[in-house]
Amino acid sequence: MSAGATDGAVGVKLVSHFATVEQQKRAAVLGMWAWLLTELLLFAGLFLTALILRLLHPEAIQEAARHLKFWIGAVNTVVLIGSSLTMSGAIQLSRLGWQRGMVRFMLATAALGTLFLLLKGYEYYADYQEHMMPFLSDRPYELKDSPPSRLFVNLYYVATSLHGLHLLTGITILLVMTWQAGRPGFLSRHQNRIEIFGLYWHFIDLIWILAFPTLYVLNR
């Protein structure tokens, strides 16, 4: 079976407020980068706070970090790197006009993103079992005599759940786009949507590449 059973023209439909397709494509890329950089600043503030906590209270943060599931974090990084590869595959096939293969790569990307969230959910469950959720008033915190560790663990949940929310949003958009992309003629009108979404997906990967060392590795 051909990878591109619905092969056809690849392109972008010009909308009225742009002079040329090239201008439209470049504006979309620049707009996505503008948004991604605001996201970068948001996460950078969280990671910087984690580093400062580590500098100010090394023993307390190391003690808290020992409760983090280092190996789940490492496996999740592998999963996200794999999802970036499949997303790159979808982009490459969209450029070739191989619609069916592109859709399969998009589904694989969504599946890997979902696997990441499932592993993260298991990690949170294990933390719950170990009484490592200081924000729960009805469940005594394991390190209750260490206020700085409470700050770090709360920060860990803010940063990872915010990242998880971005990933969940990404999976939802990806599934909707996959549904749209399976229709005949999608690539002849909207090929650049795959490219623009790819930027977002790779950026989620990039944020986790920063989160993993900042939260899990440096504090051991």
Partner: protein, 99 residues
């Protein structure tokens, strides 16, 4: 899925760079995981941060293809990360230089 040899050849031509990028990222992740698991020397965090920085640069340049973008997008992306660099440097210089 990719039946003919021509299709497989074309696919590999286009997937070679993403596959190599993913492989490079996995190798660098392996280095960071090994360093984190074994803590072989006192200031290992410096190496871990450097490896993470190279991983970020790899994603930017190869996965996000910034190197193929027009100068305006390159400038935009570069300034964003440069700004974060200023934020980290100035803040950490303050905390690291306190008595």
């Amino acid at each position: 899925m990719f039946g003919t040899s021509d299709e497989r050849r074309i696919l590999w031509q286009h997937m070679r760079e993403p596959v190599l990028t993913a492989f490079a990222l996995l190798v660098m992740l392996g280095i960071n995981v090994a360093l984190g698991a074994t803590l072989p020397f006192p200031h290992v965090w410096v190496v871990e941060l450097l490896v993470a920085a190279v991983m970020v640069a790899t994603i930017l340049l190869f996965s996000m293809e910034v190197r193929h973008e027009p100068p305006l997008v390159k400038l935009f992306a570069g300034i964003g990360f440069f700004w974060v660099g200023i934020l980290f440097t100035m803040t950490l210089v303050d905390y690291l230089s306190r008595a």
